[in-house]
């Protein structure tokens, strides 16, 4: 099966650490949101990035076990501090 293309969105401190707000990643079918985040934070640019990051798929909060589909958007959300 061919790889899936996932758009990854970075926000706040993570965006600054990553040096970008958005990137497209190719992952194997069956990859979960949590697995992709673990793979991304293993990269040097995101070394030390917080484990407390929340995940959203297509604009809705998602648990780490959420299986991604081709074309999904995964947002990496540091602990929120609005208000």
């Amino acid at each position: 099966m061919s790889a899936m293309r996932i758009t990854v969105l970075y926000f706040a401190g993570l965006r600054e650490k990553a040096g970008r707000a958005e990137a497209v990643e190719e992952v194997a079918p069956g990859t979960t949101a949590g697995a992709l985040w673990e793979a991304l934070r293993a990269r040097p640019a995101l070394a030390g990035a917080g484990a407390a990051v929340g995940l959203a798929v297509n604009g809705r909060w998602a648990g780490p076990d959420r299986v991604l589909a081709d074309g999904d958007t995964l947002a990496l959300l540091p602990p929120v501090s609005g208000g």
Partner: protein, 177 residues
């Protein structure tokens, strides 16, 4: 949109019990318009909350740091806007279900905010004051926990992104199927 009994013109944003006003904006918040969005002759009360930019540092940051509290110069807010608006809308609808019939308008600003400026405005109209006050108070608590918005504190000599409570708040994750 606007009925004959409603104040304001049809061009102004309106909130209803089933269609709350939930917006991310990048300029100053017109608090009168936020209030007008929920006002109506069926309301016995309109409760309003304004979050404003404070000069002293975030309490959590100040408590953890031995040095004296930082003096904030300005704040910078960032949002995942489409999700933030959807989350604010869901919060507003949940308040109506859980607390009582009400109309809710929530407007949160992003970008650079100076001291004293309004970062978030919430207006809740209800036939009864207890519902309006309780829903307004609960709205800001939920916004601070579940809406994807972040603030960066700029102070003399640096800047830092403020991170909220990292424990997964209830209701943040998708309900299990």
């Amino acid at each position: 949109m606007s009925s004959a009994s409603d104040p304001g013109s049809a061009s102004e944003p309106r909130a209803s019990a089933t269609e709350p006003l939930a917006r991310i904006v990048d300029g100053p918040i017109d608090t009168d318009a936020v209030i007008a969005a929920v006002a109506g002759h069926d309301a016995g009360a309109v409760a309003v909350f304004l979050g404003t930019v404070r000069e002293t540092a975030h309490p959590a940051a100040a408590a953890a740091a031995a040095p004296p509290a930082r003096r904030v110069l300005f704040l910078e807010y960032e949002a995942y806007a489409p999700m933030a608006e959807a989350q604010m809308r869901e919060i507003a609808l949940a308040l109506g279900r859980e607390i009582g019939p009400c109309r809710v308008a929530i407007v949160h600003r992003v970008g650079r905010l100076e001291l004293g400026e309004t970062s978030v405005a919430i207006a809740v109209a209800s036939a009864h004051r207890r519902i309006a006050l309780a829903a307004c108070a609960e709205a800001i608590e939920r916004i601070k926990k579940t809406v994807p918005i972040w603030k960066k504190e700029h102070f003399e000599g640096g800047a830092v992104w403020i991170e909220g409570d990292p424990s997964a708040p209830e209701g943040r994750f998708e309900a299990p199927r």
